[in-house]
Amino acid sequence: MADHYYNAEDLGKFGNIGDYQKEMADKFFSYYGEVFKDGALTAKEKSLIALAVAHAVQCPYCIDSYSSDAYEKGFSEAQMMEAVHVASAIKGGAVLVHGVQMMNKVKEISM
């Protein structure tokens, strides 16, 4: 085990997860490939969604992959940053909306 948790080279080894459980890995990668094909949404649109989700889940591998992929597919720097803001707004909103629960609890226990 390396002395740090993330290594850029590990992204290239993603396919190796099949070494320990091939059947599930094969199903996952097959599904993954299918998801990102042109469908009701274009592959380009899906790439920008993936970029936003990558930031929301704070996955450095996914950010690496989908920053490249979205730029390659023609999104501008401004469009990509707006997608990150969408992720940020949803994550921030998700925190803040729980403030209502806090308010509810405080109201419940206060005089």
């Binding site: 042109d38 274009t42 592959a43 380009k44 730029y71 390659e72 597919k73 023609g74 501008s76």
Partner: protein
């Protein structure tokens, strides 16, 4: 204006130096292209005929693009003479080659460009001109190029790396996008790219950075939609071309520490199906000085065709050239990555 690598005396202007980097990466070992081709059962790779006669009319250009594999620019003086053009015409007159592809630099900057086109046309050949678009606006004497192209029913192929200004200008220089749009509108005005005119206008996309082209079909749809919506521009097809890791693009990759990662991308995207359709198998590339090469990229690396007795127009021997062995080096990965790449765009599904 940016200067060429040659004028800057950059070591990458030397083809041997480039080949040394490509064949012996200073930082890590990349799988040999020859081994990859051998694994497909296609080594040695042989030509399957000569259908396209691609002529590099000179390295002079009004632009200095960051990715240029020719290292072309206003400071390059190598230009094809009328005598060498006559040798081309002799070959064409005595062969069944139907397509002549004129490139450069900016081929229109050659003072004998129009004479050469007229002579080729008189032989009944189809002509493709790789026009950088901005040349049409570079000087008053070029403003009538759309009419000249139309008169000779020339197929025009032009680079436009993006339908947005920022990406285009980043790669091709400030102001290039605006002039390219004006030039495309001038070409449309005489009928190029318009339905039922038979005047073909194809655009070329190549990545403005260290990455591979996306799907050619998807990109073509997007280009057509955006160029029509914003600028009322029509064109026929979009060719998505991969940048070759040579010359000025190699310099970019090395100076930005992208070289190894880019080579890894090309190698990971190696598509055996593209090997059978690479352009060198049906093309012969002619240098400004009359020497013969498998493609424009091998030309810039000074890798002359294998038949030792037919390496110049003066010794052109179609019998030897049509099934010659193609010279393969590491840069050839650029033509076999993903959907493949050629002067006509993708070559595989």
């Amino acid at each position: 204006m940016i200067k060429s690598l040659k004028v800057l005396q950059n070591p990458l202007a030397n083809s041997s130096y480039q080949l040394d980097i490509l064949e012996h990466s200073p930082t890590h070992k990349h799988t040999s292209f020859k081994d990859k081709v051998a694994a497909t059962g296609m080594f040695p790779l042989l030509a399957g005929g000569v259908d396209i006669f691609q002529v590099n009319m000179g390295k002079m250009c009004n632009q200095v693009c960051k990715h240029c594999h020719v290292d072309a620019g206003p400071d390059r003086k190598e230009i094809m003479t009328r005598e060498t053009m006559q040798l081309c015409l002799n070959v064409l007159a005595n062969s069944r080659i139907k397509i002549v592809d004129l490139t450069g630099g900016a081929p229109e900057l050659n003072p004998d460009f129009r004479w050469f086109v007229e002579q080729i046309k008189a032989l009944g050949k189809h002509i493709i001109v790789r026009c950088n678009l901005t040349i049409i606006l570079a000087n008053k004497r070029f403003h009538d190029l759309p009419e000249f192209f139309k008169l000779h029913r020339i197929e025009v192929v032009s680079s436009l790396p993006s339908f947005t200004q920022d990406r285009t200008d980043k790669q091709r220089g400030d102001g290039v996008f605006e002039d390219s749009i004006k030039a495309l509108q001038m070409l449309n005005a005489v009928g190029y790219g318009m339905a039922d005119t038979g005047l073909t206008l194809n655009l070329v996309y190549n990545p403005a950075g260290a990455f591979l082209p996306p799907s050619q079909d998807a990109l073509e749809k997007e280009y057509k939609f955006e160029l029509m919506k914003k600028y009322n521009i029509s064109f026929n097809s979009l060719f998505a071309i991969t940048n070759m890791p040579i010359s000025r693009y190699l310099d970019y990759l090395l100076t930005t520490s992208n070289y190894d990662k880019y080579m890894d991308k090309l190698i990971a995207a190696f598509n055996p199906a593209a090997v059978a359709n690479v352009m060198c198998r049906n093309t012969i590339s002619v240098g400004w000085d009359g020497f013969l090469y498998d493609c424009d990229f091998n030309q810039m690396l000074d890798l002359k065709v294998t038949p030792a007795t037919s390496q110049h127009l003066a010794d052109f021997d179609l019998r030897l050239l049509q099934n010659r062995e193609i010279i393969l080096k590491q840069h050839c990965y650029g033509c076999t990555a993903g959907a493949g790449s050629s002067c006509g765009g993708a070559v595989a599904e």
